[in-house]
Symmetry: D2
Subunit: 386 residues, 4 copies
């Protein structure tokens, strides 16, 4: 197989999971702008996600958020998905939208609140059993807003205890993916603020606990690809929540704010052996002002383009330049791949897969948008918390 053929083959194996909640309305604390045609049910979210997969070919699974996507019959939901060509993916827990969680969930000072939070996580594993999902993705909004508000260390003890109980409940083929976040909604301490904290907990929990890197969850200037390289070296990278940001956790389309960073991340994934199903590639974004389905299609394409460029890096030349200490040449080898226009290559890949080479245009002309705007009238639009 030629090198280019190998690149194409690799691109065809790529899978980017899209999140059910990105199809619904979202916003900032100032305003949630409603859009026409937004799904009103978990099923309608899956319908939209199936469109993204239909046009890109690399978005075969859909992450669920509990309780936002709670249904009576998960087997039926899974069947609904498969009928449309997609599958259910990771189960995302939610321990931040009840009034009980004002001071935290799994780390809260009140034991009854902690019990409620852990019970919710256990319920999520039950749902995983029902849906066949392999990954439980945990993000905790827990933290404090004021110095002194709570005991930093005691909260870590509570976190460890709660995670251990959930870990025990996991089945043999199930994983716990622990996400960290620099800040928000807590504004003084966050209980899992950085990869080091997530890593330390996962290490103690065991092999089924892995760290998730959300690309918007770091302090300004943080070198994310370094973290990716380090977690892969430690065998603890469970996956990504992709999005992009200029400032904080802006949740813009992945690749929109700093496409070069996304390329560098994908390069470290590939170099570190992380381009496998063991590392989950998921989107976690908010399309506050732009049309949602095409924004997600575009995001998937951005991941593809960064991956294609990363696959094109001439690694032999790179290693040779690095070993010889030629700073400029090593940088040039990397930039040579980045500066390549990979869109023609990806159009070819799509055509070889029987897809339209231009997924955005294909979606726009498919009539789906007009259809959902016309049909999804009445009922309550899905949104964060809905």
């Amino acid at each position: 197989m030629t090198e280019l053929a190998a690149v194409k083959a690799a691109l065809k194996t790529q899978a980017v999971e899209t999140p059910s909640w990105a199809y619904g309305n979202s916003g900032t604390r100032f305003k949630v702008f409603a859009q026409q045609g937004v799904p009103r049910t978990p099923q309608e979210k899956l319908d939209d996600a199936a469109q993204v997969h239909a046009f890109t070919g690399v978005a075969p699974t859909v992450a669920l958020h509990i309780p936002w996507d709670k249904v009576e019959d998960y087997a039926a939901l899974a069947e609904h998905a498969e009928d449309r060509g997609v599958k259910l993916g990771a189960i995302n827990s939610n321990t931040f939208q009840d009034d009980d969680y004002r001071l935290g969930s799994i780390c809260a000072p009140d034991p009854a609140v902690r019990r409620k939070a852990v019970d919710h996580l256990l319920e999520c594993v039950d749902i995983m059993d029902a849906t066949g999902s392999k990954d439980l993705k945990l993000w905790f909004a827990d933290g404090t807003n004021y110095p002194g508000q709570d005991d930093i260390r005691a909260r870590q003890d509570r976190l460890a205890e709660g995670l251990a109980e959930v870990y025990e409940r996991l089945g043999d083929d199930q994983r716990m993916l622990l996400e960290y976040k620099f800040f928000e909604p807590a504004f003084y301490t966050t209980d899992v603020p950085d990869w080091g904290t997530a890593y330390a907990h996962c290490l103690k929990l065991g092999e089924k606990a892995q760290v998730v890197v959300d690309t918007g969850h770091h302090a300004p200037g943080t070198n994310i690809e370094f973290i990716v390289a380090t977690l892969l070296r430690e065998g603890k990278l469970g996956g990504f929540d992709f999005n992009s940001r200029f400032y904080a956790d802006d949740d813009l389309m992945v690749g929109a704010a700093d496409p070069f960073q996304l390329f560098r991340i994908m390069y470290e994934v590939i170099r570190g052996g992380g381009f496998t199903p063991e590392v989950a590639f998921m989107l976690d974004q908010c399309h506050n002002i732009e049309a949602k389905i095409p924004a997600i299609i575009r995001s998937v394409m951005n991941v593809q383009e960064a991956t294609a460029k990363a696959l094109l890096v001439d690694r032999d030349a790179l290693v040779a330049a690095q070993r010889s200490g030629d700073v400029l040449e090593a940088n040039a080898v990397l930039m040579d791949a980045y500066n390549t226009d990979v869109r023609p290559l990806l159009r070819e890949v799509r055509e070889e897969q029987g897809l339209d080479p231009d997924p955005i245009a294909a979606y726009r002309s498919s009539g789906w948008q007009e259809k959902i705007v016309a049909e999804r009238v009445g009922g309550e639009q899905a949104g964060w918390g809905a």
Copy 2:
């Protein structure tokens, strides 16, 4: 008058405006936690604000937010306030909570949206005429989320045009206070992102246009006291929106995150001649998880403490050390004031004003909290956007 007497006298003249919206519920994009006893009407917000003034003695005015505090009869509202010992303060406009404002308000690409926004601002001046408010405080959520989304420069042209129309409408004793903000809710460009942009617009508008410094609206590491000194030197500091932050626009209680910074800001205010009614001291905070009225009392006290420390700086000794180039001594003179425990002094000031020396304790034992929890049942709690 002894020096200490002068400090006390100055502290007695201080006035901190509290914002009507801080008495209502607020939150993050993830969750608004409801609290018991929260006001349901503009009148109830004023009732709460009157409590803050009753116990601190330095919070005589209340800022309104339109349309959140829209009423039929502003004269009656003003009378309601005065009956309770407070007055109506600045009018804050709101051009971010209608679906029309998805792509901006006064800077939006659609002229109809801009017209609507400017009309709202003009209406705010009408309300100022009715309430006797002197200041129109303008904060625009305008900006873009994605590179290319709109034309950066054209948006400045639209902004200038809209502001000019509103400026023309101001009465002789009315001012326009223009606020800037680093980011949020826009995540790529913000149309008034820094003091320089606000300053440049105010300069062209004329003397009645002044800049407002919100202490949470800067890039990480920004030296806010430098901006205060500069704006005072330029005659363009109109006032403050006080709050504090560890990360972004966290809107914590002023003085909670970095009390030393608040002291330095107050020192520059005093040194630059800004401790006058011409510079408006306003709070703009969100009490997401803590009790609202005592949080505002505490915030007012934090401003008092920082002011007291700033007033205690031995300016002769400071200037002497600065002129002689003695870095350590100059720093020591400033720190000597900062390290002073001014709480006994402020207790004395309060007693001399006939107030309880401990406003928090006095509020807690006043029965007000129990009263509003019991009485404010039913109806819709006020909140951001409510």
Copy 3:
């Protein structure tokens, strides 16, 4: 002329000034790593700069730094330059490397130090008269390290007074370019910390005073293209000091850290009418660990590539999408240009100009590097401060 021909024509007019000091050694506070073949005299720096122009065709001028490039006979220096195909460019002042400047230069508390600083600046204008340079570029290391160390506002007064004296001395065709910087080497206040401060001073000085944007001199997250758009709108953008950074003022090769940002900046330059000789494009970088001449060639090429992409933006399509409020389409139009591989186009441009299409390879095979390594033995290597 076709559109592509117009793009090529524009690229051929581009001029990027290289700084004499980038050819000498530089480093961090921890270490300056010496390189072989580094210039020992201003003349040898010009020799190296001439190589950059010879291979790129768009680096016709060289910025001088006084006193680093001080010579007896500036006419002879100018002739030396012209003999090698380049010209002398902006004069950069240096008021930070004498022990007298420990507490500042033009803003120092000691009037004798201020006098010395202003005299140096006046001497720089004398040198401009001798060299024919049009631009005096001013960067002040002035600031303080500790709260209280000096009076923030008094320092602004001193700055204004010193600048006014220098401004008066400028000839009819000479400009003063005032640079701002977020921090370093001062760590508490910096006397010209942001574009707003530089702008306010330039505004008072007059039309010959303009602001310089150094791309490494901003707070984390600052939107530089917004500043560019604003300064162009105000008629106050004098030029750029190009470099790139991941953290602070890292002074890496321009375009190395965030090529997408450089593209966005160049787009605003072009859109705002700033792609003219009135806006000076200068490099200001430190090549601490990489070979210097090829690093500068690469930097010039990076500016060319960003410019080419910015010129390729379909502005009609962009404006149409912006006006219609199509966020995704407007972003896509911009990204379409950015994602284009412009290296073939630039190779063509170079060939049409009689240059080698690959400047780096051409330099490497020219023998210049071997020649200077062999010849420049003994003497003292030029470096920051040397």
Copy 4:
């Protein structure tokens, strides 16, 4: 023992190690300002450090930096120190000031450079054997400036290998303290950029490897007290390098930039059981523009004041408020201690120890400064790298 007596007793046990290099000249990449009376030898640095201990009573040890403090006879150096009332403390390695280290030291691509670096570290352990030092403090300037320059993961492998060799060489009572730093002098990747990386390496090395927290080595906004709490919980906090910063690694006097943060850190130290000799409290600062010895005295006092405030926190009241979920009261309990003026208490502590209550004034009137200015003429002043 009353509570206050316990606080005093604790304060009397405090030990802050001062760094030999802080007594010499330091600066930024732009300029090192020379000061009169600066030491010229390791012995003279110890003489100055002895003054700091003499006036504060809590600075009994002095950290050495190899090779800056290299001597023929370490036993004699230790005796020199003890004759003046101090002892030799931690040994700090230096693998960043040779030209060989241009591309790194222990992580460099060239095995010969790595060998040299590890040999230096082994030599440092030899010196520890000679001086009786217990701690080897490791800070690596290693990293890269450009994407692609070197292989991120391979550098981690090299780091692990080198550290393991040094760890094996440690004696039973010796520790390895591994420092992390966000950036500088490397501007793209740093090989030990955060506590997580240091922690992961220390975990594998074993019990004698511990993490050092330098308070200036974090990304903007990082919550340092959280890291302190976490490392203590993990049993991996080896010590501190104290200093303060507004921007990057400014190396200002500890407590100068954010005294509230220092207090919070000290509170977590005490709460987490870290106020013991097992956690080393060291200064690591640069006194670029201020007088060095009094700056270090002041720094030691700042640590004492923060410690005193942290010891004064009413922990029973704090825990009660935290457990009850009273956010404002819990914050108030903490602030109550912070707002206390502890200077009178510390004056008492000093008097009880037979010291002058005002160390700065006592030093100034001691004649030491005049003496060293008069005597230390000629020779080469010590400085970073000297």
